[in-house]
């Protein structure tokens, strides 16, 4: 079963890290990712550019509305995601707990809707 692990963190405190600290965290991310890949648990994932780069799109009455900024101003911002394969929620939360940002931010774990006929890979 697939779970989306949404990585929320506080952008200002991320920016406050020194370059060396950031490189250390990236290294941890890469290690976790390759370990998950080796076990066939990693589907995809990426870091996102900061919310200053976010654009929101809405279509109302056929009219496209494009605005600056994220969908909602929140205390912590969506900074990246992992899409993983796990047998149940306990396995998914175990993976989430190993994401470096879990120590300072929050990882939201969301199961994907399973479709009746899975796409052939």
């Amino acid at each position: 079963m697939k779970y989306m692990l949404l990585i929320y963190h506080d952008e200002p405190s991320w920016d406050a890290h020194t370059e060396a600290e950031r490189q250390q965290i990236y290294l941890e991310y890469r290690k976790l990712r390759s370990e998950l890949e080796a076990r066939g648990k990693f589907v995809t994932g990426s870091q996102l550019q900061p919310i200053t780069t976010a654009t929101s799109v809405r279509v109302r009455d056929g009219k496209e509305l494009i605005t600056d900024g994220p969908f909602a101003e929140t205390h912590e911002q969506l900074g990246g995601y992992f899409l993983v394969e796990a047998k149940d929620l306990d396995e998914a939360t175990s993976i989430a707990a190993r994401i470096p940002s879990a120590r300072t931010g929050t990882i939201e774990v969301r199961p994907l809707v399973e479709t009746a006929a899975p796409a052939t890979a």
């Binding site: 079963m1 047998k87 149940d88 929620l89 306990d90 939360t93 774990v109 199961p111």
Partner: protein
């Protein structure tokens, strides 16, 4: 429980219609959790399991009233519920992956119609541990954990749970639907947690059971102070937990604590429905049977050596139970136990109780100092017992103005009628005429 079933089997030979109904009700309460736990494991669905078991109970009501209860009512129900489940799974084509397993167990269980069930004819597995850990999974909210535990493991109906928590039935039904949906969609495992998770998960189970007990013992709202049905249910769940994991000291500690607190139930409210404090209670009303069992459990568990917060609280309750009069209470020992509790599991509420114990041992002045520090950072500002305890000490010191203010504050913070009346009575005593 087996002994209880034997006893009912003897009665069953004189079967009459009311007896069949009594048997069914008793079996319902005693066997519901065990049977549904297995049905959930087999079907992977709380809803299918619930339906199958309900259908089995309907069959039982018809058949037992007609023919008298069977020799082993629990096994009878299990067998019938398995068949109903298998029928439902066969109808529901999307769940075919579970079918072979259910079919296997349905065949293994002897059909009751062809061969009468005897005690040892059926050995069904006890899946209640999986069930309780799933119901109390940390990804479910505390309210959902409580509702689901009472509904499935306890076998309480939605109406009964809603009534006990003074909630509209629709609210509770919705809560259960959402919880079951989350279990299914997020795939919360139906398993006993791994060793490294077990102690955290067990703590959550204990917390849920104790919360049910406390909701019954000090009802947070409503007309009466104690709702015995919830206390009795929590004690029953506590017993199940001890039966399933007997070597976990805190399981025994929790059961001891609940029994010792429950032993004072009849003395806590007088005939006029007024709250009676521990100090003023008629101790002859305390339930000796529960006290003896609680103390015995505590003595046994303290030899295991892993002291925890439930055992410590039970030990405190036991010290109270051992005092023949309020004046004979060994407050020094209670203070020592609270110190240990503060060391291992400090919380503002524990600090408040510690302060109250010190007030009894060393006088109200020292108690007031500790009460003030218990509320460091204003964490107890909205806790009515903080203001009530403070007011009591101020009253003892004859600081009537301050006591009145504190009682007023306490009064505004409780919605329980009995507690409100108690505070009003105390408030009267601080008025100038006294």
């Amino acid at each position: 429980m087996q002994a209880a079933l034997h006893a009912r089997d003897d009665c069953a030979t004189l079967a009459s219609m009311p007896q069949a109904r009594d048997t069914l009700e008793q079996v319902f309460r005693e066997e519901y959790g065990r049977i549904i736990a297995t049905l959930i494991r087999q079907s992977g669905s709380f809803d299918l399991a619930e339906e199958a078991l309900n259908e089995a109970f309907v069959s039982a009501a018809e058949s037992w009233e007609r023919d008298g209860p069977p020799r082993n009512p629990g096994a009878w129900l299990t067998t019938v519920a398995h068949r109903k489940l298998l029928d439902a799974v066969r109808r529901d084509k999307t769940r075919t992956d579970k079918q072979p397993e259910i079919e296997y167990e349905a065949t293994r269980l002897r059909p009751f119609a062809e061969q009468p069930l005897t005690e040892d004819a059926v050995e069904y597995p006890d899946d209640r541990l999986r069930l309780i850990f799933t119901c109390c999974h940390p990804s479910l909210g505390r309210d959902a954990q409580v509702a689901l535990t009472l509904r499935t493991l306890g076998g309480l109906t939605t109406t009964e749970i809603a009534h006990a928590f003074l909630l509209p039935e629709a609210t509770l039904a919705q809560r259960l639907v959402r919880a079951k949906q989350k279990i299914r969609l997020a795939r919360i495992p139906y398993e006993i947690p791994s060793v490294e998770r077990l102690s955290d998960r067990l703590a959550a189970v204990q917390a849920v059971i104790y919360l049910i007990f406390n909701e019954g013992y000090a009802a947070s709202a409503g007309e009466s102070l104690v709702r015995n049905d919830l206390c009795a249910e929590a004690i029953r769940l506590g017993r199940v937990l001890c039966e399933l994991l007997p070597s976990e000291p805190e399981n025994l500690g929790l059961l001891a604590l609940m029994l010792l607190q429950d032993s004072r139930r009849r003395a806590r409210v007088n005939e006029a429905g007024e709250l009676v404090t521990l100090e003023e209670q008629d101790r002859s009303l305390w339930d000796r049977v529960e006290i003896d069992e609680g103390v015995r459990l505590l003595q046994r568990v303290l030899t295991l050596g892993a002291v925890g917060k439930y055992q410590l609280q039970a030990a405190i309750a036991a010290v109270h139970c051992e005092a023949r009069t309020a004046a004979e209470t060994d407050w020094r020992q209670i203070v020592a136990l609270y110190q240990e509790l503060m060391r291992t599991s400090a919380s503002p509420v524990v600090a408040l109780n510690y302060a109250a114990a010190v007030a009894m041992a060393d006088g109200p002045e020292r108690g007031l100092e500790l009460i003030a520090s218990a509320n460091d950072g204003g964490k107890l500002d909205h806790y009515y017992l903080f203001h009530a305890a403070r007011a009591d000490l101020l009253r003892r010191l004859k600081h009537f103005d301050e006591a009145q203010t504190a009682y007023q504050r306490a009064l505004s913070l409780t919605t329980n009628r009995v507690e409100q009346n108690y505070i009003r009575r105390r408030l009267q005593e601080t008025l100038p005429a006294n």
